[in-house]
């Protein structure tokens, strides 16, 4: 049962680095928005509402329209600052938590063994988090932008939200993959327990 080298190794190091980066970025963003940005304006970039802009044509092209809209509020209220915080920090926080869960899974898996019930449980938890929390975080981010945009653009409604929401399909597929992997690990953990019982 001696393993020559840790099969999880390149991955654990990368995940630890990504966790540090996302955590530092989240904390910096939250600190800057809540503490340092008082008295300054806040800006949102959205995909919808680009018809508000007319740009001056230039070059050998037929016509020009804007691809995204950047709206700045020069005197934002407290609520608008909260929306700004959600827009800036929520997805990054969800990635930081995702990498934290993954790091815990890999480090405990390297110590306790991969084919254990505990690893299967951690995989299942990570799978549900990826499947549900990451899409919800991006939905929250889009909703924050739409709420700000609704003050500027009266025809903003629920269809704008679906246009603004970038559904992270990778998270849905990876989440289901992790749930399947969790089931496989549970089966092999049970098989291993049976075998040890037999021997």
């Amino acid at each position: 049962m001696t393993v020559a080298r840790d099969p999880l190794q390149p991955l654990t190091g990368i995940v630890r680095l990504l966790w540090s980066v996302t955590t530092v970025l989240s904390l910096t963003a939250i600190t800057l928005v809540t503490v340092a940005s008082y008295g300054t304006s806040v800006c949102f970039t959205s995909q919808v509402g680009t018809e508000l802009i007319r740009t001056v044509p230039h070059g050998e092209v037929g016509y020009v329209s804007a691809g995204s809209l950047r709206v700045c509020l020069s005197e934002p209220s407290g609520w608008e600052r909260v929306l700004y915080l959600v827009d800036v920090a929520l997805p990054m926080v969800s990635y930081a938590v995702l990498f934290l869960l993954l790091m815990g899974l890999l480090e405990r898996g390297a110590v306790e063994g991969v084919h254990t019930v505990a690893t299967a449980d951690r995989l299942r938890r990570l799978g549900w988090f990826t499947l549900v929390a990451v899409p919800v975080a991006t939905l929250g981010e889009a909703a924050a932008r739409i709420l700000v945009l609704a003050e500027v653009r009266p025809e903003t409604d629920l269809t704008s939200l679906t246009a603004e929401w970038d559904v992270p399909w990778w998270a849905v597929v990876s989440g289901l993959g992790l749930l399947a992997l969790g089931k496989i690990m549970r089966t092999s953990a049970e098989m291993r327990a049976d075998l040890e019982g037999t021997v």
Binding site: V3, P7, L8, Q9, P10, L11, I14, V15, L18, C43, T45, L52, I53, R54, T55, V56, H58, G59, E60, V61, G62, Y63, V64, S65, A66, G67, S68, L69, R70, V71, C72, L73, S74, E75, V114, H115, E151, V152, R153, P168, W170, A171, V173, S174, L176, G177, L179, A180, L181, K183, I184, T187, S188, L195
Partner: protein, 200 residues
């Protein structure tokens, strides 16, 4: 051996998504290569140095700057169409191929068993595919997009701007590396199982 196929919700979903994407992408490409040849070619410039006029804004709101501008060429030459296809087809195509690899991997694993050398090799191949091919496809798209912009404007749009436009698919890189680890685990499991069978 096991009551229910543990791969099941995933296999079904991946097959459905694969079928749907093939239909949508195939129809989209077919329309593009026929009726689309008479349409203007449109693309997005990320940098726009000129003034903008905003309207319908409430009091105390101003437009800060326009950082993504959509340009259209009304009478495109054939090479415009080629670059246009190159600027947004490689990533969807790469993703469809990734789904196909995933479905094949899951079907083979369900048929031959998960802890087999064959499954380990499949998982490793899928990991390498995600790690190398999808970022390359994104790079090709970025070069196509920036080339279109470079030929459409008279100001300097920036040499090597395609690196800034490169939307690296990080999920593919991380998932790819994770799959390489998983392949090693599956291989170890397969060897252990072979040893056990030898003992019994």
């Amino acid at each position: 051996m096991s009551k229910a196929n543990p791969l099941e919700p995933l296999t079904g979903l991946a097959s459905t998504v694969l079928a749907m994407s093939v239909i949508v992408f195939g129809a989209g490409t077919a329309i593009r290569l026929t009726f689309g040849l008479f349409d203007p070619v449109c693309f997005t410039a990320k940098y726009w140095p000129h003034d903008t006029v905003a309207r319908d804004l409430a009091a105390n709101v101003r437009v800060d700057d326009v950082d993504r501008v959509r340009l259209c060429v009304d009478d495109p030459a054939p090479w415009h169409h080629v670059l246009d296809l190159l600027s947004d087809a490689p990533v969807p195509l790469g993703q469809i191929a990734a789904l196909l690899l995933l479905v094949l991997l899951l079907r083979n694993a369900a048929r031959h068993g998960i802890y087999t050398p064959g499954t380990a090799a499949d998982v490793r191949r899928f990991g390498h595919y995600l790690l190398w091919v999808l970022p390359t496809a994104a790079m090709v798209e970025s070069i196509g997009r920036t080339t279109l912009v470079h030929t459409a404007v008279t100001f300097d749009a920036g040499f090597l701007a395609f690196f800034g436009e490169w939307e690296t698919p990080w999920w593919a890189v991380i998932t790819g590396i994770a799959l390489l680890s998983l392949a090693k685990i599956v291989r170890t499991g397969a060897e252990m199982r072979a040893d056990l069978e030898g003992t019994v």
